[in-house]
Amino acid sequence: MYVAVKGGERAIDNAHAWLAEERRGDTSIAELSIEQIREQLSLAVNRVMAEGSLYDPDLAALAIKQSRGDLIEAIFLIRAYRTTLPRFGSSEPVKTEEMACDRRISATFKDAPGGQVLGPTFDYTHRLLDFKLAAESDPQADAETAKPRREPTPHIMEFLNTEGLIQTEIACEDTPPDLTREPMELPSNRALRLQSLARGDEGFVLGMAYSTQRGYARNHAFVGELRIGAVPVEMEIAELGFAIEIGEMTLTECETVNQFQGSKTEPPQFTRGYGLVFGQSERKAISVALVDRALRWKELGESDSGAAAQDEEFVLSHCDNIQATGFLEHIKLPHYVDFQSELELVRKLRREAAETYPMQEAAE
Amino acid sequence: MQVQALEGAFANAPIENAVAFRAAMNALARPGQIEKISGAKPPAPLSVAAGSLILMLCDSETPVSLSGPFETAVIRDWIIFHTGAQIVTPDKAVFAIGTWQSLAPLSQFAIGTAQYPDRSATLIVECDELKPQGATLTGPGIKDAAQLSLPETQSFQDNAKLFPLGLDFFFTTGTQVAALPRTTKVDH
């Protein structure tokens, strides 16, 4: 006897209840607090803020808790929340040369004004599991740290620029388009590309960047400068007629130096790639800079080698993990109507083939 | 700014916008069909219908041009205050408001591009009256044929020839709205 599947609503409610139970796990283990996530899983929080395009560590921590640590799910929660927020206005462009740097390194110069500041990095840790952490030992003694530089730290690339050795970026007064308020139009422009990459999936952008290092649109990059630290955010208040500081945010900025052969119209000089990302997200910032540089081939008069990382439409259409995961996972939804039409068609084609070539089939 | 410019918005914007949209959509999807649209109380001589369309459709992303008797400081302030739209010259307008005479020549408005035919202006034409008689309309949205009191026919015939480019029209009077998209074929 056939009974149509009913009770979708009850199934959904039950699934949600079960999910909540699984999220909490063993109730004899203490529950995670938002503060714990924010303070102790801060790099996950940073990634959720960067790809969620919302600078709010507490909300990012809440999203991580709610999503059971599935960061793409957490990013989705943040994005869906973000769209409902009213816009009060736009900030002034942040001045990263005024950053209070926690970390600032250059691979292109041994030293530079402002110095090399290693900061809190995994770079030279030996990747040995630290079983002391498993024992929940007492907190370590405070690290001996210099106070972050409060005075402006000049960008290292500008030292090359005084010699004319690196291509000058033209300052632009135009308000950049907002990817979240206007449909993506292709071909795009650099402001939109950088915006898209900054909120793009870390893994996707990393893979694209890596491919440029391995010869797909090869463009050997040096990290001219990588800096991480807090910058003030200012906003002009129309009623006041001037900008006031409304807060501070931690950013990671990377500028790469890439060699450039020169063209018919330009003498040989270095060129740049750029990445700017919320929070401490240096893998992401470097990746963005490499992909940015690869995507600039047309503007810099280079040839199209057909590499994926040079293909603006390919990169921008596929770097967003919320779009990607939604469409990928939607194939879980029922498609039986379409499948039925395919079934009919394949049966029909096979029937017709059998009628057309009956001898062949008999011979086989 | 006169007080008049600050008044006359929808009392319950989410609901009135939705109801006004359905009237506008029905009008545009069924050229010639006259729909009721109201809620706005705009400064004269702007009709309730035109005012309601403006509140429902315009914002800071849609530059508006005004012409003829509607090119007044009060109407300008009313639109800017309630919608945030910029008041611009006809060539930059996404929406244009006027009488049939004051909107001429139609060639001053954007008709879209081959790749983006949607980047065209929509004209809100204030009329003395709207009646289901006059020119004969055929095309998408019309079962057999419809009749509408149009100010003339030639301009609409020329506009239809531009398809898929072209202008789209709303006609308003009092609390009534009718529409004529670029797809409609107009005959005497």
């Binding site: 979708g8 979240t180 | 939705a18 429902m56 035919p117 998408p140």
Partner: protein
């Protein structure tokens, strides 16, 4: 009650979507770009349709949501619940009672009236996408009305298989101008695209809205010697006996025996209530007795 705005979206967003819908109706079959928002449900799960419905609904509407023709599939239930909570609209499973119907993959069997609106969820709005993946190229092809590639594809099907091997999302030409993807409805539904109701198509992830005004001319692409054919399983519904409805094939037991039943659950239930019984309905009745 809800802390969100009526129908979830803010007024500015709805205004932007409404403008896109009007442009879509003015240029039937043309895909209007719109700044699709991130919705509280995943891309690919109907965010385009949901945004179009949210911009369309008024408190007086009665909403029906179907997925694969059925009102009780989980995603249909989920979307219906979303609008019950955020817009407070009445919902129904009855096609004739509904003023707005949001659908995924089907057009209801009952003929729609001119006071109804059908909103489609669209995954890939570009009919040329699988022949040319680049938006920059397909946009040019639409601008130049260059649809040769599509005809070549259909013709290659014929030379290889002896028939056009597209059974759903079967491309149509609208008013002799734009080639349009009718969304993944089975081609059985294509002839119904010419109807009295307004049809709106929303593709959230791909940021496109398009539309068909009532009575718009919609032709399924074909060749003179290989005319379009709206096909379905060659059976009658085993529950209601309908011979002209689109059927789901249901596997009944471990031996793989099958039965066929209407995909439009409301249509099928209505017929059964009116006393129409299919081959297996009689057996069911006996079981019950």
């Amino acid at each position: 009650m809800t802390d969100y705005n009526f129908a979830y979206l803010d007024e500015q967003t709805k205004r932007m979507i409404r403008r896109a819908i009007l442009k879509g109706l003015a240029i039937p079959g043309y895909q209007v770009p719109f700044a699709s928002r991130e919705m509280p449900m995943p891309y690919g799960w109907g965010t385009g349709g949901v945004q179009v419905s949210a911009a369309t609904l008024t408190p007086d509407d009665t909403l029906k949501v179907i997925d694969q023709g059925a009102d009780d599939t989980t995603n249909a239930v989920s979307i219906r619940k979303f609008f019950e909570v955020t817009a407070g609209v009445t919902t129904t499973e009855n096609t004739t009672e509904a003023s707005v119907i949001q659908t995924r993959h089907r057009i209801p069997e009952a003929e729609l009236r001119d006071d109804q609106i059908l909103v489609y969820q669209v995954p890939i709005p570009e009919p040329l996408r699988f022949l040319e993946p680049r938006e920059t190229e397909t946009r040019k092809m639409h601008a130049l009305e260059e649809y040769g590639l599509m005809h070549v594809k259909l013709y290659e099907d014929i030379s290889q298989h002896g028939a056009i091997a597209t059974s759903y999302a079967y491309p149509v030409k609208v008013e002799g101008r734009y080639v349009m993807d009718p969304s993944p409805i089975p081609k059985f539904d294509n002839p119904k695209l010419e109807m009295s109701a307004i049809q709106l198509f929303g593709a959230g992830r791909e940021q496109r809205i398009y539309a068909l005004p009532p009575y718009t001319k919609v032709e399924s692409l074909d060749f003179e010697d290989y005319p379009f054919e709206a096909t379905k399983a060659d059976h009658a519904c085993d529950m209601c006996g309908a011979e002209n409805s689109y059927l789901d094939e249901v596997i009944m037991d471990d031996q793989g025996s099958r039965m066929f039943v209407c995909s439009d659950t409301d249509f099928c239930a209505g017929r059964q209530q009116a006393g129409h019984l299919g081959a297996l309905a009689a057996v069911n009745a006996e079981d019950a007795a």
